[in-house]
Amino acid sequence: MEYTVFTVLTSLLATEDNKFISAKIEELENQINLNEVERQIITDIKYNLQLGQAPSVAYIKQKYSYADTNVLGVVITRDAIDSAIRSIIISQSQAQLKKDLVTLGSIANNLTPEELKIKINSILENKILTSHTAIPKNNLKAMPDPYNQLQQRSVEGLSIISRRIEAHAGKAAAGTIISILGFAGSFKSTFALQTAYENAMAGKNVLYIALESTAEALINKLVLCHIASTSNNRKDLINNSWVRDRKLTPEQQEFYNNKYHELLNKISNRLIIWDEKDIVYNTFLDMNDTLKKANDLFKETTGSELDAIVLDQLALLKFTAAGGKRYNSVTDLLNDWVSYFRKQSLNFLDSGRQITIFLVSQINRESYLEASKPKKKGRYDITCASDANEIERASETMITLYKDLDTANTLLINIPKARSGDVPDNPLQFEVYGEYSYIGSLNISGEGITADDFSKDIISLESLINAG
């Protein structure tokens, strides 16, 4: 049977339960497209409710007799009212879908492929297409070894550059978003690229979406990062500016090439770097297509599926159509992208599989100025993201980067949000070598010094004074 809003309203009044009537009227107003008469009836009912008593069924039927199509006088029982509302929603969504499809069909010839995608994307937002009718399984279920299953999940998580960070934030687990935030020039891309590099080297399939830089520039940085992480002699390190200015000696060029091949061999197709010219990402549908291609490529070359995506960086999605809606602001649009990636992390391309998303984003100017004060140096708080406030909610872990201007080669890393861990008392101090595209201590012997070395005079004060 097809129910009408009028039938639902009179059936509600028949319950004579003011609280129930109020709650369901609110639901109707929020979820159903009401016509003018239906709105008027609701206003009438609400007015009477405010006076302390809902109107009688007879009163409404008499006053709005012209709208009463319920000639058989059907009354929906209290228990069936929710189902009736649901049925009206489905019916309205179906009608809207038909209308949208007919409209699209009539104008399809006049639309560009890009406009078509946006329209289709908008149609896909229809409730009839997004609602899931299957009853989900209860996740709270019997397991033979729940503790180990939980541990396995955390062991399988991805690395976040350093154990010192992981000691606070934990590993980057599947099904989560890890945001990497920093002001301009705070080594966000270096951090993101190194995260991708280390996880790919550890056998995880990582897609790096470079919207800020070219793939060529990133690949050069990746080689320099590989050199820095594998060299134990400072003479082997290659400075980014030497490559830029074509100053490498023939020996260095040969070394660079060898390291490039070594990197390729070790990574064995587990890292895909695509920049904006390689992919289409104007809408969610486009991005789905891109992600599917990456997943297919990983399956073909490595035999396993994609484990993580690094998006560098979120703000550059601001010129896209995203979900095809009419967005009131760039923030709304970027919030929608964050929600999109959150959904991908939880249910990658609707496959039921979870992946990890590393989201690179900008820090707002006010937070940067605040974090630059001596008292708060590098200590960003959770509200520092400038692009989208959805980042604060959707991120499992927020990692902020602050270039210490008082100390050379020093990066202060804070973790203002760690759902599976704790926030450090002070930002963590890391070495950073922009010229080598590397974050962390270099493995060069004789450059490290501990309190023990100093107390036992293994490294003399004189040598330290001369080193400066």
Binding site: P374, A408, L464, I465
Partner: protein, 195 residues
């Protein structure tokens, strides 16, 4: 573990005067540090009659290594601090004033010339207390000009340090070579707060 180039670079601005003299003096302070257990100490009152930069250098390196972190530091004089204290926010050097309270390490130079008011001592004690509560290290270096009366002049300050922190008279420390056989001191008792 810290990178020695980053650590050395951080404290390089403190290196002044002839290199060999600087090294010798800093090494002497280093010995004083390691012959006494200063790892839990949050504030030190030093009496010295020589250049203070090697002293600051040795302490800066020591505490950075101890905390496994290249520490931020600020240097001020007692006179400058009291002057700043009485200025309004509009005229105050906010950057330095902020660092006085929040830098990991603060070095304050004092001399008899700074003792223009008793208020300075109270102000310094309050500052040291605030910083100690926030786990920040403060080192006050009193430059001895009058070898007879310096303890008397700074009685209030030294009493405070003797009861709460530690006092080291660098003029009474042996040469580094004579101290190598000394064993490390254990946690100081109240009576051992004067070294």
């Amino acid at each position: 573990m810290l990178n020695k180039f980053i650590l050395a670079g951080k404290f390089k601005p403190l290196i002044t005067g002839p290199r060999d003299k600087f090294v010798k003096k800093a090494d002497q302070v280093r010995s004083v540090i390691f012959n006494n257990n200063l790892s839990d100490v949050k504030a030190i009152l030093l009496y010295g009659s020589d250049t203070r930069e090697p002293v600051y250098y040795a302490f800066g390196i020591y505490y950075s290594l101890l905390k496994d972190r290249v520490l931020d530091y600020a240097i001020t004089t007692g006179q400058h601090f009291i002057n700043q204290h009485f200025l309004t926010e509009a005229t105050r050097d906010l950057d330095l004033y902020g660092k006085i309270y929040s830098s990991d390490l603060l070095f304050i130079s004092l001399s008899q010339f700074d003792y223009t008011s008793d208020y300075l001592e109270s102000l310094l004690i309050d500052l040291v207390d605030t910083r100690s509560t926030n786990n920040k290290i403060t080192i006050i270096h009193y430059d001895i000009l009058d070898t007879k009366n310096y303890m008397h002049t700074t009685k209030k300050l030294s009493d405070y340090f003797l009861s709460n922190h530690i006092v080291i008279d660098l003029t009474k420390q042996s040469k580094p070579s004579q101290q190598t056989s000394n064993t490390k001191a254990q946690t100081k008792k109240a009576s051992e707060r004067f070294i």
